[in-house]
Symmetry: C2
Subunit: 327 residues, 2 copies
């Protein structure tokens, strides 16, 4: 493989001149330009990015940590952030952490090893104290990872409220509430706290099912719905993440319950799967693309050495009424 020295020799110039030309820095005469161009073509030269990276101490790669890309929420998030970071010249390293409890730490370790310039984390099994030791660019999505780590999140309290109020307006009195995983003081959980608060305030009976934080697969979701159904709790409303909401809906339909007449359903996330089932599911929609854009902006700012303008960016969720609630 030809190196810059070979090019310089072939073109009859010094390595510095070749480097300046490639990087468009400093002076290079028209004559040298042509000779170097010819040499590069003749030797089929491509700069070794590894060497550049070493010198610059950066790789141009950002790690994005998610539990699982096959979950449509994270798939859409990754899709968007990849696109966003691509235009800024960064590549995305994909890190699924659910498969293996050591993966999160290992991927974070790549920051120290200079393999990645920054991390966007949508997971948090490791906890604040672990993250607090990291002095490199990290952005948290939907969870607190420590005081010095900027977070991009959604107003889940408001999201939980919208869901709760809609079910109440719809006249629900007995609601099945699948509570997501995770620490209670992570922004993510606000939807459940607020939802539950409003339910209690209005004397609505609820049956809460707490999900494990490390399972996002269909099998587990189906199992969860099974168990909730077997509890014998007679419900006329459901609040759950997309996939579970859909599963509940299908069970209800199988039991000849009418949707939305007998059971109202509000899903959380509003990924495209709520729109491909029939009836389409009413959902609190997370602004995934915006979440990705803000996360991208924040991490690139951090990498560029700028302080993020805000340590906490809170986006708005929206309510998308479809056919699983009354018109």
């Amino acid at each position: 493989m030809a190196g810059i020295k070979d090019v310089a020799k072939y073109a009859g110039v010094g390595v510095g001149t070749v480097s300046r030309m490639i990087n468009g820095s400093g002076y290079v005469s028209e004559e040298s330009r042509e000779k170097i161009q010819a040499a590069m073509k003749a030797l089929d030269y491509t700069p070794n990015e590894l060497a550049r990276n070493l010198y610059r101490k950066k790789s141009g790669i950002i790690a994005v940590l998610v539990p699982n890309v096959s979950n449509p929420f994270f798939a859409e998030f990754i899709d968007s952030i990849e696109e966003e970071l691509y235009v800024d010249g960064f590549k995305v390293m994909l890190c699924n952490t659910a498969k293996n409890s050591g993966a999160e730490a290992e991927y974070l370790d790549m920051l120290k090893r200079h393999i990645v310039d920054g991390v966007v984390s949508c997971v948090s099994s490791l906890g604040e104290q672990y993250y607090s030791t990291i002095k490199k660019p990290v952005v948290a999505v939907d969870r607190y990872l420590g005081d010095n780590i900027p977070v991009v999140t959604v107003d889940h309290r408001e999201g939980g409220r919208m869901a709760a109020e809609l079910l109440i307006e719809n006249g629900c009195r007995n609601v099945l509430h699948f509570r997501g995983a995770g620490d209670i003081d992570t922004p993510y959980y606000d939807r459940h706290s607020e939802f539950q608060r409003i339910m209690d305030e209005n004397n609505i009976r609820t049956y809460c099912y707490d999900l494990a934080w490390d399972r996002m697969d269909s099998e587990y979701y189906i199992e969860a719905v099974d168990k909730a159904m077997q509890s014998g709790f007679a419900f006329d409303g459901v609040f759950a993440v997309d996939r579970i909401a859909i599963e509940c809906m299908n069970r209800c339909l199988k039991q000849n319950k009418r949707i939305p007449e007998d059971v109202k359903i509000v899903a959380y996330d509003g990924t495209y799967i709520t729109d491909i089932v029939e009836p389409k599911v009413t959902a609190v929609v997370q602004p995934i693309e915006l979440l990705a854009r803000e996360a991208a902006k924040t991490i690139t700012a951090l990498i560029a050495g700028k302080d993020p303008e805000q340590m906490k960016i809170v986006l708005k969720a929206t309510l998308r009424k479809r056919s699983t609630t009354l018109p």
Copy 2:
């Protein structure tokens, strides 16, 4: 940031000794071991992977090119291959190519730049002649990228046959056939050729709708179904990729057609979305996990300098009968 020299100085040994200790190569006395260990801890030393990479001329990263991760087929593929490659010590760089026509070439270029050690490509807008100039490890998934590029694929001919025969057994006489994108001589397309051949052979009327290769989004799919519906072709069978099959099903239900009595549907891919809609959709299921595993095995073998045992690995698709065809 502390470097290996600092550690060596602090421990009172030479850099070579530190390096040997870190890499477990060569001799290091117990005494040196302890001193180095202490020094590493004291200085919070982590080796700079960039420098190692430069020396070794490899980055430990494999680029996986897909049109779009939000498509569940690719999401599941990436999910699996990431897991597979993780155990082999490789990281995955995610490359969505649909967003931008230049992205595929740019990501491939990273091979030359030594940013990635190999590429697993599930896309092919660039064509054989482009790929043929690449002398680095590349594995193709479901498409031919040239004679010297190993391919992992599925027996789509068989897949197309299973779908066709099932619809015929079900008594379909007028079938809506959404044909996927791409070159006709890519393995991927075999399903359509074979399906169509059998349809023609049995004098089944078909209405073929050809999809654009560069669109995988819901909007486009909905538009496609719209157009096909508007054609006025009265059909009693549908063969299409998951997402479109589902869309067709929903349209039919809305028009009060009964599934499967009035219209039979066979989807291709069999990702989880065919299982969350009601009725569940009969599908030719691609062995995505296996596809990922074989692709991972092949690319790691290539990177290790081994020749792949086979230049073409063909896996079996299976038919999963659900409720959109007769029992």
